[in-house]
């Protein structure tokens, strides 16, 4: 328990260890710790940025998908419209064609009827003349009355 030279030795040892720590231990540990802190801070920052980028990309993808859907719907709508129009056109064409064919048929029929009428007239005139000849027994000059009969036939 006496105070001895031990005290001074301990003082010297204290300075030696403090110096060793000061020069050879502390700076290296602190530098490594600071560097790691920076690395971690950088990493966290990068992660946050990456997350933000991801959000943005997701937003863009969403947007693109929506746009594509809208475009597809537009195309389908346009195609439906076109198809309907084509059907309308075809219907109209068919209607026109039908009308034309009908008209042509009617015209043919009318022509045929006229021709038949013509023939009938001619025949009726013949019959009328023959009948009249028989009634009048030659009093009628055939050549004289031909013009008259033709007129009559035309009036029928």
């Amino acid at each position: 328990m006496n105070i001895t030279l031990t005290l001074l030795w301990q003082t010297v040892a204290f300075f030696l260890f403090a110096f060793t720590c000061w020069k050879f231990i502390w700076p290296f540990l602190i530098r490594a710790m600071r560097e790691r802190q920076e690395t971690i801070a950088q990493g966290l920052e990068n992660a946050a940025k990456a997350e933000q980028d991801l959000h943005q990309a997701q937003g863009r993808a969403e947007q693109m998908l929506t746009d594509a859907r809208a475009e597809a719907r537009g195309i389908v709508d346009a195609a439906r419209g076109q198809a309907a129009q084509m059907i309308e056109t075809a219907k109209a064409d068919a209607e026109t064609e039908r009308a034309r064919i009908l008209a042509a048929a009617q015209a043919d029929a009318a022509q045929e009827m006229n021709r038949a009428k013509e023939a009938l007239r001619a025949e009726v005139a013949e019959l009328a003349v023959a009948g009249a000849e028989k009634i009048l027994e030659g009093s009628i000059d055939r050549n004289r009355h031909d013009a008259l009969l033709s007129r009559l036939a035309a009036e029928l």
Binding site: M1, T6, A13, I25, A32, E35, R36
Partner: protein
Amino acid sequence: MAADSAEYIKHHLTNLTFGKHPEEGWKFAENAEEIATMGFWAINVDSIAWSVGLGVVFCVLFGLAAGRATAGVPGGLQNAVEMIVEFIDDTVSGIFRHRNTLIAPMALTIFVWVFLMNLMDLVPVDWIPEAAKAAGVHHMKIVPSTDPNITLGMALAVFLLILYYSVKVKGVWGFLKELLCHPFPWYLAPVNLVLEGVTLLAKPVSLGLRLFGNLYAGEMIFILIALMYGGLVLGVFGTVLHWAWAMFHVLIITLQAFIFAVLTVVYLAQAHDVEEDH
């Protein structure tokens, strides 16, 4: 039994001292009386050896971590070391606001070194002294911080640093002015010198004696508990007591190491503070 106990306690509290015996020359002291005759020029070999050994343990552990220190993922040792370093760095930067790169590493050295010295208190009191006895060494006190030479030696180092930085920062005249013209005006200089001188000297003395007192008392209680290991009942009771005291002591040794380090930083911060006139 009483005499045996006294002998046992005395033996456990005696350092292995090497010094010059008035009649027999340089030798290891065999008992307290021989130590007393050796006077100042003697060395407590066990205290110094354990103290320096533990200091080397500190340097090797932390040096290994420092040598391998990278900014990458830290391993177990590096993690532990960096936790302590960061703790000390935070503590010091909270107390010490001046520019001095020595203070934080010194606080780390004090904290870890004193902690390791105190930690020896948790080694059962008989193990190493008995082993030393078997090896032919009379005395072996393994807790350096229960030796006032060790604690006061460290306090002396702190005191020298206080004086050095006081003079370095304030100049000789500034430091003297602080001692002579404070707290009373200059014409009461002698009173001021006594007051400030006591304040100044009380710093290292209290620093050293606080650590010594706490650890010496703790060691004493371990020795007293160890005395109980005679009978079965007392032995069991002693074991329980030992465990309880050791658990409590874990707190004390850490706290005392921290107090020594923090007070050193506080004293050196005061040494750097330039007093404003008032």
